[in-house]
Assembly symmetry: D2
């Protein structure tokens, strides 16, 4: 079996997750090169995983003829620009969310990607989570009938650091965008209106940026279903990620996986273990699965499961949501 | 122990639940008389429970000197008027929700109740559910820290019949009012704004009344917490009633009780039993508990756990919610 | 509907449970008289439940012509003798387990009951538990196929007091007898051999009586299924009562019901409530159900769900089990 | 970090599991060579994992100076002999259970291993399962107090094939040995007596070998605790592996992990997914963990977590259990 040759641009937290997964859990690929402006990071990542080539500059990696496809894992504000450069270099692309900080920027990048005829998959990894996949299959098989509502609870264990926050595009674009994508993925319909209520109960400094740490979102879908998203930037009990879809013939949901199945029973009751702390543990398997899917698409020339358009729509909803949060009124898309 | 003498006005479904509970599960009370415009209903209820007095007319029961306290269990549109008559007769009052169909009507009735100096408890029975009580105790004990959000899922097994619907004040006043009350009860704060999105995916005729069968509600509380309510008029799997409160120090939730604890395991997975079908089964114990609490208040002259003001606020939120559903914009209270 | 007139002999803990249930939850019966050697107990029970007749002596109650059926709720060592007297008086009989302290004694009593042609139901209340009933129905409907094994975990919250213990016939006859009955009820076959291992890890004084507080039992059934019972006299977390039946087509089990459905989540994990403390809470509904079943049998002349033979077989297995515990070898029945 | 060089003898099902784990999930080791009498198997395994050396004969691999430690993954009847050869070759050894088919054989091999001064770990992989490890930690931390009983349910999805069975030493040595080890590991005490009841309800041909497919086992421990094991060779719902330890201060248990966390709700109830089918899926992580532990021991010269003595005791209990099954009487160790 031919192995697809991958290069990673940006080996921070998520880039390192992908690098490790490629080496261990993506049999159809090999990691050919990594790049990071912090060249020591690139060198260390390459060394620890037995990768021979590492670069400081994105351009160098894009110029490497051995690299067939790149993973864009830099900070969000640089995504659109690197997308354009990677498309120009003729590389197939896996890009972390969001594609850009504003719809216009993302649209422009997508146009270049399409013009270049390269393949693009966007990093909505949660679609590849085993439980959420089974929910989707259940719905697609018609077992739920018409979906009437989707509920997503999505809570981080800690608010973002300020430095990261300022590059991220805000909570709705960085965190809630996953939930927007999951909602439309599961309902199988497009959002026509979004309303957001929010407060700063955890990180008051977010208020200075017109942002919130505690969010409640209602989505209206074109065929009448409703979506509800509840976010918090700080769940002291760990990374809380649950989905429930209700419909004509019943309900299907997925709760948090736990690190083990123990139950401790004493006079205070029954106790099961704490949640996983954050995404690298909770979604570990989904990250490997999304790359296997990407590598399959590259190898076989098939359409990626998560398209550039999915990435763009996520940004559009997040942008409308930000307007709703700031104005206090629902916003049409 | 002295037993408080009760009379019930209206022995339809809920009146009969109360009548039976008084006889079986409220040791501090006795059922002295029942009244119903459909006098055959009153006679049958009295006969089956060994109650000697029954009346066709509310006035007759109110004139009965043996009756110390009355339960108003008629259809919603008559509540305010009977409240006024019962207060005038000097009876202590337990009144089913809602107190009236509009805030003004309810306010007027409450003023008369206060002027008469009689005691009034409103029928938000869910506050007496064992699980929801434990959630409240957990929060009141400070174990959750500051509450940040409350999520309520509340689904009926079937939409209301048209005839009942037209007397009920609509879905938000009849059904969601319980959730509005639970949300403010658990958060321990007042709602300042409400937003509702709704669709008619189940009972299209509701659209003619500006109403919906699938509802998503966001409540903003004065101290920044948010409330989320999800309603459906038709869950094919039974009466679905769940609550989750998230806060500074963790989370506390209550799910649906099941009729038994069996698990059937085969090649298709693990299966637990279906939910209870509707409120008379699912909330059976809470109805008895609310009457024991009412009877205690009457016997001891203490303030009821659910006050007339709680009843009024529920109507105010429901009325604002109806406006939001119809206009598509959030409404301040 | 005619109401069956009941008398209770012995109003200690279990007699009082039955008395209260008859008054509140057995519509087809009325409690006509109670008797207890401690006449003050009888008087108090009668007074609190509005029963007019009470007696100090069993003979008086048996001579009362108003009483159609009696409940024998005295201490175990007196059961056989009262059974004979009640049969002689022509009363239908509900008798708490065990029917006697030895098989011979019980056989003699049963012979008299049969000769008198009165109806007898034995107090294996757990057969009437909603969950265990559903397990039985599942098996009887053939959904499990041939049963291969049954596992019963049955733990008390506290060891018996010495005084009660000396009248009870020992742990195997008093406590494990319920599990023996449940095992043969669910497997639908008879036990041919029993092996018991036991220790005194909780109440060392039991060793003086050749008894144990920690027991592991294996039952062999005539058609090859095996039964496993695990007992403890002291579970610090409450009354632990679970059943699992495994067979050709899968498994069906029932776990402990909990007082409410709350889940408390924090950094230490997820916590559900403690178990019910003991049988009066955990099996409350089953006691009422067994009496409704008994009253139906009396009213309609139908065969009781739990027969005298079931009661006898329980004693036979318990007696063989005691021999196995003492000799260390399996014992054939 | 130095990587420990491993060779695998026997690349059937379990050998292949280990080979794959070494390459992917044991960073401290590398797979240097594989051997299998079926040389095509060895070649294919080596090729697919990028291993350069493969052998048909065990002796060749043992003579390979690059190999520091070997994994013995052949059929059970050959273990003792290969242990002796590997010890003679001075290799550190990881040996799959059982060490031999009879205690005498295993003792002899152990003596040679000790004399050679090489390190030996036995393949009781379940000790490395995340849930069972947490149970052990809970007990070792004293949170359970004195353990009173341990319950193990262990069911395979299918009975063994006859060919494999004849080389395996029988159900008790091949399957139940894991449960014997787990019971003494968790109780922290030694078994002094074993009693086994068994039937052939699934695979009648097992009766010809004095064996059974449905087993119930009681273990007596030296300090009074009891152990209960329930085995079946065919659970139609998958690989069922549960443990519960009960003690002075409560209980700790572990149930089966599920492939995902979905719950499907409809009128028939709530359904969670089926179990994993067999050990390669259910215990996948534990196999990698046991090898990381072995490699740590080799690299640091520390005592293995599972010793040769543990392996021997497992065989001793299994042998006594076989006698009990055949004679119908408990057997002292």
């Amino acid at each position: 079996m031919r192995r697809v040759k991958l290069g990673i641009i940006g080996v921070g937290e998520i880039g390192t997750v992908h690098a490790t997964n490629i080496v261990r859990d993506v049999p159809g690929a090999e990691l050919t090169a990594v790049a990071d402006l912090r060249v020591e990071k690139a060198r260390e990542c390459a060394r620890s995983l037995g990768v021979t080539k590492f670069y400081a500059r994105t351009e160098e990696l894009l110029a490497d003829r051995d690299v067939e496809a790149v993973l864009i894992c830099t900070t969000p504000e640089s995504h659109a620009q690197i997308l354009i450069a990677a498309a120009a270099a003729g590389k197939n692309i896996f890009c972390e969310k969001p594609l850009g900080l504003e719809p216009v920027e993302a649209e422009k990048a997508l146009a270049r990607v399409e013009a270049a005829g390269v393949l693009l998959q966007v990093g909505f990894n949660r679609r590849f989570d085993a439980s959420f996949k089974r929910i989707k299959e259940h719905i697609d098989a018609g077992k739920l009938g018409t979906p009437h509502s989707v509920h997503i609870i999505s809570r981080d264990p800690e608010p973002p650091g300020k430095e990261y926050y300022l590059l991220s595009g805000g909570i709705l674009l960085d965190m809630t965008i996953h939930d927007f994508d999951m909602a439309r993925h599961l309902i199988g319909d497009e959002v026509v209106e979004v309303y957001v209520a929010g407060s700063t109960l955890i990180a008051p400094w977010l208020a200075e940026h017109g942002d919130a740490d505690t969010l409640a979102v209602i989505l209206k879908f074109s065929r009448g279903a409703v979506g509800i998203i509840s976010n918090s930037c700080k769940a002291v009990f760990g990374y809380d990620q649950r989905v429930e879809v209700f419909g004509e013939r019943g309900m299907v949901s997925a709760t948090n996986p736990l690190p083990d199945t123990t139950i401790i029973v004493n006079g205070e009751g029954h106790r099961t273990p704490p949640l996983f702390h954050f995404f690298t543990e909770r979604y570990r398997a989904s990250y490997a699965e999304e790359l296997r899917s990407f590598v399959d698409s590259v190898a076989n020339g098939t359409k990626p499961v998560v398209t550039g358009r999915d990435g763009l729509i996520g940004i559009q909803i997040a942008t409308a949501a930000r307007t709703s949060l700031r104005t206090g009124s629902p916003v049409r898309l």
